[in-house]
Amino acid sequence: MMKKIIIAFILMIPCWAFAQESALNNFYEKYSGKEGYVSVYITEFTFELFKKIGNAQEGKDFEKVVTQLKGIKMLTPDSANRATFLDDLLAALPKNQYKDMMVVRDGAKTIRFILKEEGPKITEFIMTIEGEGSPFLLFLEGDIDLNEIAKLSEMMDINGFEHLEKLKDK
């Protein structure tokens, strides 16, 4: 009997591992590398490098932001796939895990911020942009501090990240 329980337990492990997979990452993996979509993944190693940049204060500030960051991913569809992109994304995110945080309307653009919380921690931070061109998805994974995240915009100096500064207005 004991042997059967152990075998059943071992067989269940892959199922649990699969259950742990983030819905957001599944969405990203589904479209990344597919014809009609452009994706970018900035790895944890890159943030490790950035921590070592600049003067002591800048380095300290950046360290606060990125210490627990596991990566940034971006995804955008071409014109043929844009119509349902954001609807598909929102449908893929379970409502009991992902919460709308803020919606900003900036001219023709709508910028939406969504969070995934696990206990006291924010483990995923999503920003979507729609209007004026193709819709755009950006998300951060790790242990995310909302108070620090707007600093990413200034520090990384990547075009498009300026929308993160809208979090300061919250």
């Binding site: 940049i53 955008t76 498009g160």
Partner: protein
């Protein structure tokens, strides 16, 4: 007897390739003369003639020791596998991966004591492989400039 055992064990490790040093140069030198492969190295001085130094690149070119190109449109899949095997995770760290349909662009870096000593940009397609290797002494600030080349607004425009 003990010495013999140690020697035999060491020989076994070497034979299985566990001690083999793998890096980009090994890949480049192994395949550079193969049919269907175009490979060349550009001296830094010549590179300066071709590249306009703008604000972002200002100073970086002076830190470049060597630039090499590797282009193949034959046996690309086989070469990609070999390239990945030579750019082991322990030595070459992934910085950025960009996918545009079936094309994948990767930026990998080899870390030195106080910066980076090698940057490798590969563009993989289902039937072609392009690799650019830049060697030199780069600061972490230089690495940040490389990421600055990512323009999300341009991504959206490109997708239009």
């Amino acid at each position: 007897m003990r010495t013999m055992t140690i020697l035999l064990t060491l020989q076994l490790f070497c034979a299985t390739g566990l001690f083999a040093w793998q890096d980009y140069d090994q890949f480049y030198n192994e395949h550079k003369n193969e049919t269907g492969v175009l490979s060349f190295r550009i001296p830094t001085d010549l590179l300066k003639v071709f590249v306009d130094e703008d604000e972002d690149l200002d100073g970086i070119l002076n830190k470049v020791d060597q630039v090499s190109f590797f282009i193949s449109d034959e046996r690309a899949v086989e070469l990609m596998k070999d390239l990945r095997a030579n750019l082991s995770e322990g030595t070459y760290k992934d910085m950025i991966e960009m996918k545009d349909g079936g094309s994948t662009i990767r930026l990998k870096a080899k870390e030195a004591a106080d910066g980076l000593e090698e940057l490798i940009i590969s563009v993989e397609d289902e039937d072609s492989l392009f690799v650019l290797c830049v060697k030199g002494v780069f600061s972490f600030e230089d690495a940040r400039r490389f990421t600055k080349s990512i323009n999300t607004e341009r991504m959206r425009e490109q997708a239009k």
